[in-house]
Symmetry: C2
Subunit: 221 residues, 2 copies
DNA sequence: TTGACAACATACCAAGTAGTATGTTCCTAT
DNA sequence: ATAGGAACATACTACTTGGTATGTTGTCAA
């Protein structure tokens, strides 16, 4: 099948897409971010690119495929940012805090892509995908679940070490993710602002989440 | 203007819409919940009603108006649930906990409506409304802000009393709301399940949030 | 030089979609 | 009884949208 769409189910993490594809992806992510998936037409994306539909359909078989690639590219970014932290050899609670910070930073710095990921998850929850989209979306969601499991595992370790305290692991994980993702909806860094402000926002969100999960210590590391 | 659409800006909280309107609202909320606003056609709503477009356009001037009424009805439900708690005379932290519980319960029990509220907020954030929808949506958002301020006020009081501890009030409020709203996305009560399960989910979410905001005490009240 | 193919643009189509214009039926106030 | 309007259904239109079919141009290997 010549969708130009790499298989999601293999166990490797892809490097970011480059060149022409990337331009299309950026435009698509921006449009999906501003208007949502179904309110965005292929012509909208083309207009933002300063070109026409032809260009997009030359690289992608369908609108759903384009969305899928935005989703996957967003997740690739997250994996590349998180894996070093996940593999780091440091106290479990510190690892979790670093992962949380990195994740939250990702949400802000690659917002359009992450917003597409969010919508993809929503589409799956509401099972609002037509057959055909359905199988592709399911694969993509499995990809995201692998990412989620990195946090889930770390959360579980922390609890076993007595560093965290919560009842149900899945619920804790869900609430944590939603909270860490939340800047996606309420924070837009003003162009002139210092990096310090962004760091402050991230620190505050992570602090609330860590304490919420039962962490008692300091987070000045 | 014969939109049959009550003014949002007055200071009273409306009683729930009854009868024929309510049937349409329920169907619309369900459709918006399952497919999102722009992926839902008026014919979809009509089909769910077992009727035709004529019925809907007899009561609502446009799709945006219909959505607006779903939004407002959802917010009316929230106000009616929260105001007694907000006005209750009890320790501030307990008031907040009760408000949080009530709000979270609302998210689960009136999910389709709350999901429309969420999407309305999103639409406003991304300013993805065409002119005309825009002014209506802005009014509705002001309505929601009044609701949000009830929590913000209580949060602030708690901090002044030394019962909570967080840095920025707005950030704390945003993170709190997103976390309390989160069951909207990950919890679907199975029909057979006991009410106990629902209560447990609510308690866990509220516990995480309260601790995250710096509350040190117990929540067994 | 030339054939072939990638990378687009142009033109087009069938299927929706919001909204309207116009019936039709039933209920109710007079 | 009947006029009138509320509450719909039916039929229609103008427009959008995803997708396709078909050009056009540049590039590059043989």
């Amino acid at each position: 099948m010549a969708t130009g769409f790499h298989d999601v189910s293999d166990e490797t993490i892809d490097v970011p897409v480059a060149g022409a594809r990337r331009e299309i992806l950026d435009a698509a992510a921006s449009c999906f971010f501003e208007r949502g998936y179904s309110a965005t037409s292929i012509d909208d994306v083309a207009r933002r690119l300063g070109s026409t539909k032809g260009r997009i359909y030359h690289h992608y078989a369908s609108k759903a495929d384009l969305f899928g690639d935005v989703f996957k590219t967003g997740m690739d970014m997250n994996f590349r940012a998180i894996l070093p932290e996940f593999s780091a050899d440091c106290p479990t609670h510190e690892k979790l805090a670093r992962m949380a910070r990195t994740h939250t930073r990702q949400m802000i710095e690659t917002k359009p892509y992450q917003r597409a990921v969010w919508e993809g998850v929503e589409m799956h929850i509401r099972s609002a995908a037509k057959p055909g989209q359905r199988s592709t979306l399911t694969e993509l969601l499995a990809y995201r679940d692998r990412y989620s499991d990195l946090f889930k595992t770390t959360l579980s370790e922390c609890r076993e070490n007595g560093l965290l305290d919560f009842e149900n692991l899945s619920i804790a994980n869900q609430v944590m993710f939603v909270a860490l993702n939340s800047p996606l909806f309420w924070y837009s860094p003003e162009p002139g602002k210092h990096r310090a402000e962004l760091d402050s926002v991230i620190d505050q969100v992570v602090a609330i989440v860590m304490r919420g999960l039962g962490y008692k210590g300091d987070l000045t590391s």
